[in-house]
Subunit: 299 residues, 2 copies
């Protein structure tokens, strides 16, 4: 099965204590699509300007990503520029130039509309709605989000939640959304807002999956060297959805393995600037880290 | 095998968003000893004043804790008073009255000196040295510490590290000690300071065990309601040492299970003020949470 992924498609200029790289391929859809592509065919929905570098398109194609839903329009590609502090957990945005993203309206080609697995990667909730409006009875819909939408588009987001099977967000976002410091109680409150599956990301501390009745405590793959954490959360959810689409059948039965595979893709994402490391990863390398994670957590 | 535990023995007045309790039995040795007592006999070294409440002595005895090494001297028992913020991760000390602790010199009864498992719970490193000076060839020595000693007794602590098999500390303390933000690199640096086993506690995010060649990523037992986190770290290391002493044989072979059992005791500790919940826990309840932790993390 394929995964439909909508999100931002951008150029990122990133500065970390380990270096500085201008105009890398970025955006939530790019990271999620590349991550998902290791397991399942991906159909991507997004927009770029006519300045979008050819090598970026080649990178998508190298990963077999279906670009029929990628609009290439006159104007400038969304450009984000940010800087990380020494501990890599704090980053600040230096510049956001929306460009063609400002007027983006996702349009799904006919071949996309029957997709069974839908990932609404981080993007304005109103656009996530527009994608769902064009879908015909998808099997499993997951959305990611960010603090920005909690701040400026909360009503849209609250209307989106009942339309989702799964919702993925950071621990701090879960706290902000629920006014609840405890992660388990926050997850419970989010269930009541709609989604049957709540996945709370804790960065280097892993993630928690809550399924109303059960929880799963997922480890992060421990890294001695983080080069650039940009996109790690997108790779996590992209890898997860790719694994689910590839597995088919019961989501419940495959979700833990899906999360672990997402976690491993996120770890590779952190190993290089932008998508540099991730795009060179092999299926064998992914399988190795999944196995290692098993050994690292067994007791 | 028994565990020898030295540390502070105190009365704690604790305020959290869930309530306020004056003069509870506290101190690193008290928490660690009660936790260890679920698995192995405990010999405790500490000091209290002649104001020490009888019910506290009864609580020690209920747990079969050998009190030959507990000095009861004229004066006031060490009294700590603190307050937790809403998220329970930040606390501030309101008052510290050292009392008889100020002139405490640990003296080991002859029957203690051959103990094989030694836990130097959180206390001034100079006192941890004094205990080791009186030991005859222990098999496995572990020390815990706190930020205070990094600030005011670093040379003592640095001299202690080569005398230890295992060293337990918080993530923030590991960062302070090594000037290293990454937990794996911090652990590596601490190995070079002496201990073969480095255990970095991450509170609700679990713990990391580093054994030079391997690491173990240990989960915390997820709690929806934290009543009072005081002493959780002491229970963690106490439970771990109790489990190791009860298991005997190769430390390496039992350390993961020991850490998981420590983690479960820490979770029970957080469920009530002071030692209220922990002291009522049954072996069956501990086994249940250990099994649950297995189920919560399996993939």
């Amino acid at each position: 099965m394929s995964v439909l992924i909508v999100g931002s498609t951008a150029l990122d200029s990133i500065k970390t204590p380990r270096g500085q790289h201008p105009r890398l391929l970025g955006g939530s859809a790019s990271y999620a699509a590349v991550a998902a592509s290791f397991f399942a065919p991906v159909k991507m929905v997004g927009v770029v300007g006519d300045d979008f570098p050819k090598p970026c398109l080649r990178l998508y194609r190298k990963h077999g990503i279906d670009l029929e839903g990628l609009q290439i329009v006159p104007g400038k590609t969304f450009h984000w520029s940010g800087e990380y502090e020494v501990n890599m957990n704090n980053r600040r945005t230096l510049k956001t130039e929306l460009g063609v993203f400002e007027t983006f309206t996702p349009r799904l080609p006919a071949s996309y509309q029957k997709s069974q697995y839908v990932l609404l990667a981080n993007i304005a909730p109103s656009l996530q709605h527009l994608v769902l409006d064009q879908m015909r009875r998808p099997k499993f819909v997951v959305a990611d989000t960010m603090d920005l939408w909690l701040n400026i588009a909360l009503p849209d987001l609250m209307r989106l939640l009942p339309r989702l099977d799964g919702f993925v967000l950071n621990e701090s976002e879960a706290q902000q959304l629920t006014q609840e410091h405890n992660v388990l109680r926050a997850a419970k409150k989010i269930h009541r807002m709609g989604p049957a599956y709540v996945i709370i990301k804790k960065g280097e501390h892993g993630a928690i999956l809550s399924t109303r009745k059960k929880i799963f405590v997922a480890p992060a793959y421990p890294l001695a060297h983080v080069v650039d954490p940009t996109g790690a959360g997108d790779c996590f959810v992209g890898g997860m959805m790719g694994w689910l689409a590839a597995s088919g059948g019961s989501v419940e039965a495959h979700l833990r393995q899906a999360i672990i595979h997402g976690s491993v893709l996120a770890s590779y994402c952190c190993g290089g600037f932008g998508l540099k490391t991730l795009t060179r990863v092999t299926p064998a390398a992914i399988a190795r880290r999944v196995k290692e994670l098993g050994a690292l957590t067994r007791f």
